[in-house]
């Protein structure tokens, strides 16, 4: 098979490759967007957990100092 003939698509190269290329781009975008969002949510939740554990520790420390625990 001749590759330049294949890419020429019988003179319809622009139309065929634009349609296929755009489809690939949109599908890749949907996939990437979902993956990035997943990483973002997980980072947010982790930060929240860390923040709460910090608050928890400092609260316990304060309680010890004042002799309330």
């Amino acid at each position: 098979m001749n590759w330049s003939e294949f890419f020429a698509m019988g003179g319809y190269a622009f139309y065929v490759w634009s349609a296929w290329g755009l489809t690939a781009v949109v599908l890749a975008y949907l996939f990437t967007q979902a993956k990035l969002r997943n990483a973002k949510i997980k980072a947010q939740i982790l930060r929240q957990i860390e923040r709460e554990s910090l608050v928890d520790h400092s609260a316990r420390a304060t309680n010890k100092e004042s002799g309330n625990s």
């Binding site: 098979m1 294949f6 698509m9 019988g10 003179g11 319809y12 139309y15 065929v16 634009s18 349609a19 296929w20 755009l22 489809t23 949109v26 599908l27 975008y29 949907l30 996939f31 979902a34 993956k35 969002r37 997943n38 949510i41 997980k42 947010q44 939740i45 982790l46 929240q48 957990i49």
Partner: protein, 266 residues
Amino acid sequence: MNLINAFFSSIWGFLNRSFHRLGSPREFFKISNYATPIFGLLFTVLTGYGAYLGLFVAPADYQQGDSYRIIFVHVPSAWLSLFIYMVMATASAIGLIWRMKMAFVVAICSAPIGAAFTFLALVTGSLWGAPIWGTWWEWDARLTSELILLFVYWGIMAVYYAFDERQTAERAMALLAIVGVVIVPIIHYSVEWWSSLHQGATVFRDGGPAMPASMLTPLLLMALGFTFFYGYVLFLRARNMVLDQERKSRWVRELVKSSRATGEAQ
């Protein structure tokens, strides 16, 4: 008689249990752990093989030459734009009737995917129309109704994000999705009801598909592959939404902590 009764009640019990399992965000998450990679794999294999057959193996059309190869992305996108709408409207109805959380999640997560496939159907159709019809766009029934479908998808997304309160947003969105379902038969029958530049049905028509197997096989493979892609991205998005909504719950926190420890992507 008793046996038949027992048989049906056990089937009913099984359906009931699976329904409730799927309805719980935590159970959904567990099931999607297995389903998501399977859908991703099926998409890759089917679409990969379909694209190979469509671009390399299928012969050129005797009238349209190689330009017809746009069909392999155009028709699956157009089918998906309608199929996703039906899933979204069905899930919306289930959510409203049975107050099922996960049904709303499926409906909302479907909308942007459906909009993306509608957009693709319109643009790839335009790219096909330009050389073959001699025009990029025509205000005819099929094209206009498909464009309206895109606006309906956008409207549904806008309504959902317009409300701060989650339950209100879910119900408003579901109601609009159910009302908007009238567009689906209009699009499907538009080429029969009105005279249109667009051709009639080629695959689902009386007397079977008007297409040789060398062209039909890649088309069906691509369509099936795109369907699994929809399922795949739907699972990814629904998992994100569940994580977001249940972020205060213990199981989500444990899961996020353990996924950091193992360096797992999901």
